[in-house]
């Protein structure tokens, strides 16, 4: 421990020495032409190294307490040092890699050696850093491995290591190329290196060198760098076919070494079926991919086979095999990798130039790519594998039993009514949102038809919208009919709710029945008669005006009706996606459009953007407080219920205020109707529709106010008890309580949508807007017909981003209801199954489902970005 700490503090000093040295050196030498002496550049770098290494050695041996005090204050220093190191190391890396790629055109051998060294450093560093390999092991772990030759005592081991290493080296050297190359590589490179490795390895097992983590930390990547670097160098010196042989042999040798060093607990078994399935399977995939990219398929096949073999050996099988099998399992894939990189000839001048040019981007990309691979691809494969397992306990022995169940976990997800329940689909057609939504769609379509007929332009041909809408409406009519007949095939509870909502006025039902029937039939006629009704060469639906809003809102309501009836975790998550994405996008767009060029634009936008700064957990807690209900009669502490009950008081009062409100509301209603009528006459469609929609709301408000039920739940009408009742936002009124959870995310995400849309709207060329104004278009037409089509790509980006965010929603549900009251979503269920209930398989399956549902959206987004570029 102390030594580790000292190394930590020491490396700070050393790094600074190197970084400063090389930075200063490079800064001095690089930009100034008169100092562009390469010897000088390099000597500066060498100087840094020369200063650093002895400093390092000296510091390792010195008293560490003197370097960094162990008090609390040193934590600040640690942080500062950490940042310095990160910056310095990045700079150093960048410079070094640039210098490395400089070598492509100058000396391929040097470049290959350096590249090999880098790869070796990273690979061995990763293996060592993740404690997958172990140069020294406690005696007992070796003793456990009874079949291992490692068990025969240190000196046998040492000799054995030497033989293996030397043998591999000699073999690799002997089969290499020309006589000169043979001698050169055998004597100078392979055998010494292999012997050196074998010697060190043996010594470690013999415990001749003091066992210390520091040393293994230091020298594992170093050895890897040297070995692979040398391989790189040699390969660059050889020509086919000896190059291929040497590459394969070297790969196998490195593989043997890694396999020999693997920690006992990670030793895989050789199990033929997964090895062959994965190996051959991925080899074919690789070959096909290479073929598609118009390259020789052999390269892809080799690489695919290698990856497949590794998966087959280390992921798909159980660990616990002998060391011998582990060495084979690592040697074969690495031999394939070696062959893959040796199968190509040396790059020509053009290719060298390409590497030189293109590779520099990789200096930045590589770390990101490897993090993504390690952080995404590997866990993904692992999760998919886990999702096919099921862990249970043997009823007799109570031991944990894991069995491979293939897709049973997925089957569970889709058959469990808690996660997927479409049994109540009939309720869709009897729910209020469906009735209102379909009415709005009908109105919108009729308007689109009328406008299209008048202007003769618009959306031509009988589209798919018409037959679908028509069928949906007819189905609605059918279920209205059954509801009125008192049929019980509809869910009892929903029926009771609907009857309560209709408040003993079945005439409403007949109205809906009539409307659905007429609307459905009319659209059906339109569908089949097409152009004849329109009197032109096709059916013209003008879908560019304000009535598009009515159609969109109607569709939204129908969707809400659908999700309110189809229940379960999966569908609930989809409901979140549907509702939050739609509402956030449209509200963001509306705010961006309305605030555009307004005086208070910046202030308004800042305020609406603010929730973005609040974490989901924080927002969940805030809104929980807002939703809190206290018992009827107590003082309400939740804002929402407080306002609600105040409204109730107001609604029930008999004072002047109430009379005044009624007069105001009636006036408002009248003026809205007048506005709608005059707008229609003046061909301002959107204003007309906007007025009608607002008029509906005002009318509803007025009706509730007159009916003494504003703020009341309305169930006590018969007793004429009219006191206000609190609303349990989160736990009652299922499934609509979910909406109150969604409100939180909408509250957060609207700001995001608004900011993006605002930028997009400002980017619409003013010439278009001015031209439209000159042509006599009003603000609404300009928005729907000019601005919206211009920002369609932005809408795509916002929608896809929101969908991904919403699919992942976890915190809000966890904090506010923890999935109780029918509000469970996939992410929270995944957490519960995997970590609380201990059903890792089911949890992983949910994770995969979540992943799969995100993939198309991400794909769409990436494709869009690529098209843009």
């Amino acid at each position: 421990m102390e030594l580790l700490e000292s190394v930590g503090s020491v490396c700070v000093t050393v790094l600074i020495a190197i970084v400063l040295g090389s930075l200063v050196g490079t800064l001095i030498t690089q930009p100034m032409t008169f100092l562009q002496d390469k010897v000088r550049q390099r000597s500066m770098l060498v100087l840094a190294g020369v200063v650093a290494v002895p400093t390092f050695i000296w510091l390792v041996g010195s008293d560490t307490d003197a370097i960094i005090a162990s008090d609390e204050g040193s934590k600040v220093a640690d942080t500062v040092w950490g940042v310095t190191i990160a910056l310095g190391a990045s700079a150093l890396l960048f410079i070094s890699f640039n210098m490395m790629f400089n070598q492509v055109t100058k000396s391929l051998a040097r470049f290959s050696a350096l590249l090999g060294a880098t790869i070796g450093f990273v690979v061995f560093g990763l293996l060592d850093g993740n404690r997958l390999i172990q140069w020294v092991g406690p005696r007992d772990s070796l003793a456990n491995n009874a079949h291992s030759w490692v068990n025969h005592g240190p000196w046998t081991l040492l000799i054995f290591s030497l033989i293996i290493a030397g043998g591999v080296g000699a073999l690799a050297g002997i089969i290499v190329g020309t006589f000169r190359e043979r001698v050169q590589s055998t004597l100078l490179v392979f055998i010494p290196i292999s012997l050196f490795l074998g010697f060190i390895w043996g010594l470690f097992y013999a415990e001749r060198i003091p066992v210390d983590t520091t040393i293994t930390l230091l020298w594992t990547p170093l050895v890897g760098a040297i070995v692979v670097g040398v391989v790189g160098y040699v390969l660059s010196q050889l020509d086919q076919p000896s190059r291929l042989i040497a590459g394969t042999a070297a790969g196998a040798g490195i593989g043997l070494m890694i396999g020999g060093l693997l920690k006992t607990v990670y030793l895989p078994r050789i199990s033929i079926i997964p090895l062959l399935t994965w190996g051959i399977g991925l080899a074919i995939v690789g070959a096909v991919l290479s073929r598609l990219r118009k390259r020789p398929p052999i390269g892809g096949a080799l690489l695919g086979g290698a990856i497949g073999w590794l998966i087959g050996a280390f992921v798909a099988t159980k660990v616990g095999g002998p060391r011998f099998e582990a060495m084979i399992n690592t040697a074969i894939p690495l031999a394939l990798v070696g062959a893959r990189f040796s199968v190509r000839d040396h790059p020509g001048i053009v290719e060298k130039a390409k590497i030189d040019l293109k590779s520099r981007a990789w200096i930045f990309l590589m770390p990101a790519m490897s993090f993504i691979t390690l952080g995404l691809t590997v866990p993904l494969i692992r999760t998919i594998y886990l999702s096919m397992l099921r862990t249970g306990r043997d009823p007799e022995t109570k031991q944990r039993v894991t069995e491979f169940v293939l897709l049973d976990n997925y089957k569970d997800i889709f058959t469990n009514p808690n996660s997927f329940n479409v049994g109540n689909w009939r309720n869709i057609f009897t729910s209020a949102p469906f009735e209102i939504g379909s009415s709005l769609i009908m109105m919108g379509l009729v308007a689109a038809f009328l406008l299209g007929r008048r202007s003769g332009n618009g959306f031509r041909g009988s589209s798919i919208i018409l037959p679908i809408t028509s069928l949906v409406l007819l189905a609605g009519a059918f279920y209205e009919f059954r509801l009125l007949r008192g049929s019980t095939s509809v869910d009892e509870a929903a029926l009771a709710q609907d009857v309560a909502a209709a408040a003993g006025a079945p005439s409403w039902r007949y109205l809906y029945l009539f409307a659905f029937l007429v609307g459905g039939l009319a659209l059906l006629v339109l569908t089949f008669s097409g152009g004849r009704v329109a009197g032109q060469d096709g059916l013209n639906l003008d879908l560019g005006g304000g009535h598009l809003g009515a159609i969109i809102f109607g569709t939204f309501l129908v969707g809400m009706a659908m999700f309110a009836s189809l229940r379960g975790t999966l569908l609930n998550s989809l409901w979140w996606v549907f509702a939050v994405t739609t509402i956030s996008t449209s509200m963001g767009l509306a705010i961006a459009a309305l605030a555009d060029r307004a005086k208070f634009e910046n202030l308004a936008k800042s305020i609406i953007f603010m929730p973005m700064a609040i974490s989901f957990v924080g927002a969940g807690i805030i809104w929980r407080f807002m939703f809190i209900a206290r018992p009827d009669g107590d003082t309400q502490t939740g804002v929402m219920n407080y306002v609600w009950l105040k409204l109730a008081d107001f609604s029930q009062g008999d004072g002047v205020g109430r009379l005044l409100t009624i007069i105001i509301l009636v006036g408002l209603l009248a003026s809205l109707v007048w506005l709608a009528f005059s707008s229609y006459q003046h061909d301002a469609g959107s204003l007309a529709y906007g007025s009608i929609v607002v008029a509906f709301f005002v009318g509803w408000l007025l009706w509730r106010l007159l009916d003494h039920r504003l703020g009341g739940t309305g169930v006590q009408v018969t007793e004429q008890i009219l006191e206000g009742r609190t609303i349990q936002f989160l736990s009652q009124g299922l499934p609509y309580n979910n909406l109150w959870l969604m409100v939180v995310l909408i509250w957060i995400q609207t700001g995001f949508a608004m900011v993006i849309f605002s930028a997009a709207i400002k980017a619409v060329p003013t010439e278009f807007l001015e031209a439209a104004s000159v042509d006599g278009a009003n603000e609404s037409s300009i928005f729907w017909r000019i601005v919206v089509p211009q920002i369609v790509p932005t809408i795509g980006v916002v929608v896809t981003t929101l969908i991904v965010t919403v699919l992942k929603v976890f915190d809000i549900v966890k904090v506010m209801t923890n999935g109780n009251f029918g509000s469970q979503v996939i992410a929270n269920e995944m957490w519960f199954q995997a970590f609380t209930a201990g059903n890792q398989g089911l949890g992983s399956a949910l994770a995969v489902v979540l992943f799969i549902s995100v993939v198309p959206v991400v794909y769409f987004n990436v494709k869009r970005i690529q098209e843009g570029a």
């Binding site: 421990m1 580790l4 790094l15 190294g49 190191i85 150093l92 109570k398 989160l730 609380t836 059903n839």
Partner: protein, 470 residues
């Protein structure tokens, strides 16, 4: 010239290699130093791992023969309030002074979720304090826990009754030791309010129901009930069910129910559920400060009881900590709060208890020394004294360890311990014994759904039965 170039580049690479490699070591160390022990991977305390992986066993054994000073033992557990943390710290203060072993405790709300992940990754603390014996059994059978040593076994047998040690025994081997106990079968009430209204403490379940009806008739609300508790919403309901299950069906059926020898949707279970839910749903029966039972946090039942919004509240002994500062307990004053034993149905007096159990993950002498200390009355006394002095009376802590200095406890707490140590039938909280998928999952969530009226009792029970792991 050519050679010097290679050399210089190699030197650079070498230096860089050295430094980065060294720094990777540095990062491990500094993250291990962090105080936050429950944060997943960073928990990989270098001390622990190295001791396991790299230090030869002989070294540590040699160290034990000398003394254990300078060693550190880490403990994690679910208790994360300041009060509990202070109590646990105090319980080890003398121990550390004597032995030189530093003990670091970290409490986390998400202990139950985290410990499984940490066990899989091999990054647990040395000792974990489990609130659920069911989890101890799972961990023991999966090979994560170590059987306690003979010394610890001897100590715990001497200090704790066999009934409590029983909870740490899995398949005949003891893995965990009891460290804290709770008494669940209690009803909190205000004797002053009862006296003023002329109510008597009921002796039987029917008597309790009759009393509740009388209270409603008098315009009082009998019960405060709230089952909301964040991620654990519903556990209060399961406590009611368990207490009544024990009373209505007897301990044998209770054990069969816990062991899943009778299905969860058995008519006997349904009867108990209906008994609870019907009682709660009776008009005027329940005051729920959050507007509905399912929306009322369990801790928010204390104030309404003090404010006379309700007359009774069934909750465990630790509930003392939920009452406002300065609340008087069982001292005869007008506003004092007292408890009566949850009445029996058949005339017996079964006790529903709960508690925490400590078990070791790592085999080091200092770990066993700490475990041994945790079984002693000295540990309980120190923690009780510290928490009592912070709270100024009732501590919220309770231990049934034998041989404690009872004067450290208030009379009310003494009566709790009396009940725990003398009861003929003691049963552990059933949800803590069941598999986590049920006990910390569907039992809570489906119970909540049934209480909230989202599901019928039959639907909820069927769903729980379906979720019982095979």
């Amino acid at each position: 010239m050519r050679h010097s170039r290679i050399k210089s580049l190699l030197t650079l690479l070498f230096a860089f290699t050295l430094v980065t490699a060294a720094c990777s070591g540095d990062e491990t160390t500094s993250s291990g130093d962090g105080a936050n022990v429950d944060a997943g991977e960073t928990t990989e305390a270098p001390a622990t791992t190295e001791a396991n992986d790299e230090e030869p066993a002989e070294t540590t054994e040699a160290a034990m023969e000398d003394d254990l000073s300078g060693t550190t033992v880490t403990i994690s557990g679910p208790e994360n309030s300041e009060l509990d943390a202070a109590g646990i710290a105090a319980a080890f203060a003398d121990f550390t002074a004597e032995t030189g072993i530093t003990v670091e405790y970290s409490g986390s709300r998400d202990f139950s979720d985290n410990i499984g992940v940490q066990a899989e990754a091999g990054t647990t603390t040395d000792i974990a304090i489990f609130p659920q014996p069911g989890k101890v059994a799972d961990f023991a059978r999966d090979g994560f826990l170590l059987p306690i040593t003979d010394e610890v076994k001897a100590a715990t047998d001497a200090n704790w009754a066999a009934a409590w040690n029983e909870f740490g025994i899995v398949d005949g081997t003891q893995y965990a030791i009891p460290v804290k106990t709770d008494l669940k079968s209690l009803v909190w009430y205000k004797p002053g309010a009862f006296e003023a209204a002329g109510y008597d403490v009921p002796e039987t379940w029917d008597g309790l129901k009759a009393l509740a009806d009388t209270m409603i008739a008098d315009g009082n609300t009998p019960f405060c009930v709230g089952i909301e508790s964040g991620g654990a919403t519903g556990w209060t309901f399961t406590d009611w069910v368990e207490d009544l299950m024990l009373r209505m069906e007897g301990p044998e059926t209770y054990d069969a129910w816990v062991a899943h020898e009778i299905p969860f949707n058995d008519p006997k279970v349904a009867a108990v559920w209906n008994e609870v839910i019907d009682l709660w749903n009776a008009p005027g029966m329940v005051y729920a400060s959050g507007g509905s039972i399912a929306a009322t946090p369990f801790a928010e039942n204390a104030q309404p009881l003090l404010d006379d919004k309700c007359m009774m509240h069934r909750q465990a002994s630790f509930y003392t900590g939920m009452f406002a500062d300065g609340t008087a307990f069982a001292d005869g004053s007008d506003n004092a709060v007292d408890v009566f034993f949850f009445p029996s149905v058949k005339g017996d007096k079964p006790v529903l208890g709960a508690g925490t159990l400590a078990a070791a993950f790592n085999d080091r002498p200092e770990v066993w020394a700490v475990m041994e200390h945790m079984t002693t009355p000295a540990y309980a006394e120190a923690r009780q004294a510290a928490q009592a002095s912070i709270q100024g009376g009732i501590s919220g802590f309770l231990s049934a360890a034998k041989g404690q200095d009872m004067s450290l406890y208030t009379p009310l707490e003494q009566s709790f311990i009396e009940i725990l140590t003398t009861a003929e039938v003691v049963r552990f909280d059933a949800s803590d014994l069941m598999p986590a998928a049920v006990g910390a999952g569907t039992f809570w969530s489906e119970g909540t759904a049934a209480v909230n009226g989202d599901k019928s009792v039959a639907e909820a029970l069927d769903a729980i039965e379906a979720s019982w792991p095979s």
